[in-house]
């Protein structure tokens, strides 16, 4: 049962339009036109705010032509049966954004130098205001992102959403998975305690075990034959510049393909002759 909408209090009821107020901000200047009709009252601050916002959006849209794109991107049709499992990709992306934001703040205090790294990291935890929280968000958020990305991958696999014509998006997703794991590897060294040091030594040596290219890959990661003075700054540069840039670019490509190709219906839904698509607004 649907209850009737309660009546608005008098102060909030929209006043009927006055003569000369009919046009909807067509000239992009919403402020002056109420005064032309002689005795017309001044527009209320609320009217001005609405008009101002609308004209600002209109100004942008007139110059970028972005609204058809946004309409197609944000109000696209999705299949029947779309459910919460379809949000795992967005969840992964928001985990990435959270990592990016907390990472920026951590970078303000962190010093990627072998003699200073541990001290600066423990300073973030123990002395910086809310540093413990931000570092904790980054540290646990990394785990959350790995879990989400695997759940998203599992959803795609079990729903058959990797099939034609979405194979390329699967491939991009796998690259994103590998890059995310690379983020985990490079970030693990940065606290620079015993565990992260030895874990990195072992991880680099596992890279070195690959035939022919392995030793070169290890030298690239370590910046030399031994764990040297620039190893940690190298990991830091990869962790906060190179890999996140790649991930952001590939997320863009991933999303473009999602919007372009649409999403799949869950496998338990049989194809219907008509009304297969419902509009979700």
């Amino acid at each position: 049962m649907k209850l009737p909408t309660p009546p608005l209090p008098k102060a909030l009821r929209p006043a009927p339009k006055r003569p000369g107020q009919g046009r909807d901000g067509g000239n992009g200047n919403g402020n002056g036109h109420g005064r032309t009709g002689g005795p017309a009252t001044k527009p209320t601050p609320k009217d001005q705010a609405v008009e101002g916002a609308a004209s600002a959006v209109g100004w942008l849209d007139e110059r970028t032509g972005i609204s058809p794109f946004l309409r197609g991107f944000l109000y696209r049709k999705v299949p029947k049966g779309t459910n919460w499992f379809y949000t795992l990709g967005s969840a992964t992306m928001f985990a990435f954004l959270s990592q990016a934001i907390t990472g920026v703040f951590l970078a303000m205090y962190y010093e990627p130098d072998p003699t200073r790294a541990y001290e600066s990291a423990s300073r973030i935890t123990n002395e910086v205001f809310l540093g413990e929280l931000v570092r904790g968000m980054h540290r646990w958020g990394s785990t959350v992102m790995i879990i989400l990305i695997f759940m998203h991958m599992g959803r795609t696999f079990f729903f058959g959403a990797y099939k034609y014509p979405r194979e390329l998006n699967w491939v991009i997703g796998v690259v994103l998975l590998v890059l995310t794991l690379a983020m985990g590897l490079t970030g693990y060294l940065l606290p620079f305690d015993q565990r992260s040091f030895w874990a990195t030594v072992v991880a680099v040596n596992i890279n070195a075990s690959g035939p022919v290219v392995g030793p070169y890959l290890a030298d690239f990661l370590r910046a030399g034959a031994e764990f040297g003075p620039t190893t940690i700054s190298r990991f830091y540069a990869l962790h906060m510049l190179a890999i996140p840039g790649l991930i952001a670019a590939l997320i863009g490509a991933h999303l473009y393909l999602v919007a372009k190709l649409g999403t799949t219906a869950p496998p338990w839904l049989k194809a219907e002759k008509k009304d297969l698509l419902t509009e979700e607004v």
């Binding site: 072998p114 003699t115 392995g214 030793p215 031994e226 764990f227 040297g228």
Partner: protein, 221 residues
């Protein structure tokens, strides 16, 4: 009146293809030439940025990053022929604590020890504690006369030869020399299971038989 301009679309010459303003004998259109030139200039501009950047990142593969030096380990009297003496040294002094490592040192025993081929004159045996599996630090256990790795259970005998677990070759060694009664330690070298000398390799790199060709030496050593 036959069609006056007889153009052949497959002609070699732009004039023959009927392109307006074509020169006689011209084979490449100016538009196409400009396209090609723009591509080449673009390629040069990208390479001018990308190649130095790439070289910067890959430089450590091509240049020697650890300095060769002889480090003092102590007086000759500190070491004996029977048991290993642990010594701490700094393999990369610039790193501070993480550069520190342990070396086990013992006087070379001509009757008991296997001679590393080509290195007969090493007066001391200096064994690296870097496990040849994935590089954890091994510890020498005097009671069993074995080196044991805490990570994945690698076991090495008295001379560093693999006796169990995942390691792929004996423990690395360091060059040694005696100067004015002081024992000194030089660069690292690797050995395979036949105790043949190799330039230093990463842990996990096999060096026996055909394996040695899959794990080449560095261009810098």
């Amino acid at each position: 009146m036959a069609d006056p301009p007889k153009f052949d679309k497959k002609s070699r010459y732009t004039e023959g293809r009927g392109i307006a303003g074509a020169y006689e004998g011209e084979t490449v259109t100016r538009r196409r030439l400009m396209e090609g030139a723009a591509q080449v200039y673009g390629g040069i501009a990208v390479a001018a940025i990308a190649l130095p950047g790439l070289g910067f990142a890959l430089g450590p593969l091509l240049e020697k990053s650890t300095v060769s030096r002889w480090q003092d380990l102590g007086s000759e009297d500190d070491f004996n022929i029977e048991a290993y003496v642990p010594r701490t040294f700094n393999i990369v002094p610039e790193v501070g604590d993480p550069g520190k490592s342990t070396v086990y040192v013992r006087r070379f025993d001509p009757e008991r020890d296997t001679v590393v081929k080509g290195q007969e004159r090493q007066p001391y045996v200096a064994i690296s504690t870097r496990c040849t599996h994935v590089g954890c630090p091994v510890r020498y256990i005097q009671a069993s006369q074995k080196f044991v790795c805490p990570c994945h259970g690698g076991v090495y005998g008295f001379e560093g030869a693999v006796e169990g677990g995942p390691p792929v070759r004996p423990l690395d060694r360091f060059y040694t020399q005696v100067e004015n009664g002081r024992v000194q330690m030089g660069d690292r070298f690797s050995v395979n299971s036949e105790f043949e000398r190799f330039s230093p390799r990463d842990p996990s790199n096999h060096l026996d038989g055909l394996w040695q060709y899959l794990y080449p030496s560095r261009p810098t050593t």
